[in-house]
Symmetry: C2
Subunit: 256 residues, 2 copies
Amino acid sequence: MANLVPFWLLLSALLAPFASGDWNILRPKKSHLDLGDSLKIYCESWRVNVELNNVKGFEVVPQECISHVKKYMTSSQYTADSERAIEEVKLYLSTCCSPEGDGTDAWIFDVDDTLLSNIPFYKKHGFGGEKLNETDIEEWMRSSKAPALEHTLKLFNLIRDKGIKIFLISSRGEDLRSPTVDNLIQVGFHGWSALTLRGLEDEGKEVQKYKIKARQRLVDEGYHIWGIVGDQWSSFEGLPAADRRFKLPNSMYYVA
Amino acid sequence: MANLVPFWLLLSALLAPFASGDWNILRPKKSHLDLGDSLKIYCESWRVNVELNNVKGFEVVPQECISHVKKYMTSSQYTADSERAIEEVKLYLSTCCSPEGDGTDAWIFDVDDTLLSNIPFYKKHGFGGEKLNETDIEEWMRSSKAPALEHTLKLFNLIRDKGIKIFLISSRGEDLRSPTVDNLIQVGFHGWSALTLRGLEDEGKEVQKYKIKARQRLVDEGYHIWGIVGDQWSSFEGLPAADRRFKLPNSMYYVA
C-alpha cells in the first residue's frame, strides 16, 4: 500500500494542470508561444491588408510571413473564403438585376487564380516569397497544367447558362494564347465570348490601365458589365466600372 | 513491487498519446472539434468577405457568428489589423505625393469606428447581432463616452501637422453635433477644418450618396483629396474619389 502513495502523488501532480485548465505544461515555453502568436498576428494583418488593398504593390511576400501565406493558401480557410465570395455572386445574380437578354449582358473574369489556380507553381516557388522569375512562370503557363478553381468553374457555367456573355480579361501575353485556351478547356471552361490577352501595344502598360481599356471597349460595343470576379484590385479599379466586383483571396503576388 | 505494475501501465497508457503526437485525448471529442472548426472557418469567411465588400448590406451579424465577431473585435488581431492599415497611410504620406501646401490639401476621416470606437456600445448590444435600436445608439452618442482609436488619433495629428486640412464626414445627424464635438475633443482630437453631419436635406438619402455630395463640395471648393480613412465602403465608393482609401476593420455593422 505504501507503494501506491507516490503513484497517486505523481499522477495528481501530472494531471493537476489539466484540471485547472492550465495546459501550458504541454506546450512550448510561454516566451516561444508569444513570439509565434505575435508573428501570426503580424502576418495575418499583413495578409488582410493586402486583401483590402491597403497594402499595395508588394514585390514579394515578406520573408517572415512566407509560412503564414503558405499555410493560408493551402488551408480550408482559403477555400471557404473563395467559396463565400462565389456564393455572394450567386446571391447577387439571383436578386439584383434583370439582364437585358438582348445579347448585351456581360460578365468579366480574371484568369489566373480566379479560373485557374497557380498554387501548384507557387508551392515550388516559396508561395510568393521569391521574386518572380518571368521564364519560370511562363514555362508553367505553357505547360497548361493549372487546375480549375472548382467553385469558380461552377459559377462560370451558371453565368453562361443565364445567357450572360463571359469575357476573360487576363494580363497574360498574347504569346500564351494557345496554352491558356488549352488549359482552360482541359479543366472544363468553355463557352466564353472572348479572351483578351496583352498584345504588343499593351506591353509596359500598367495592368490596371490595360484592363480599363478592355472594359471601355466592351462598353463602347454596347455591353452592360454586370460584374467582375478577380483576385487583383487592378481588375476592378478605374472607369468604366462594373456594377459589382467580387474580390477573391490571393496574397501570393500583387499585380499593379 | 507488484503494486508498481499498474502504476507504470497506467502512466504509459496515459502518456502514450503525447509521445505519438496525438493530443486529442485532451481535447473535446473530435466531432465537436470539427464542428467548432467548421463554424470558425465559416464565420471567418463571412467576416473577411464583409471587409472586402463582397458581402454587402447585412442588417445584423448572423447569429451563429456573433461570438466570432465579438472575439475578433476585442482581439489583438483587430488592433493589429487597424494599426497595419494606419501604418500604410503613413507610408503613403511619406512617399507618395507632394501636397500643394497652398491650403488646398485635404484628408477625410469617418468618425464612428475610425476616430471614435463604438465597441463599448456594441459590447452591450450583441456585437452587431442585435438589430440596431436607433434610440439606444443615439443615447450612446449623446453620452460622448466613446474612446479614441489611439492609432488613428496619432495619424490624425500627423496629417494635421503636415498642413493637410482634415475633414470629418460622418453619417451622424446634425442634432448630434454638440455631443460629437465634445466627445472628439475630450479624447484628444482637435484642429479639424470641418465636421460634416447629416442635415434634414440628407435624411433618407443613402450614406454613400450623402458622402459623395460632401466630397464633391470639397472638390468644387478647390480641394485635392489625398486620402480617406474609414471603416465603411460607403465612405469610399463613387465619384469624386480620393487618391487613396484605407479600410479599417469593422464587422459589427454595415452602412449602405
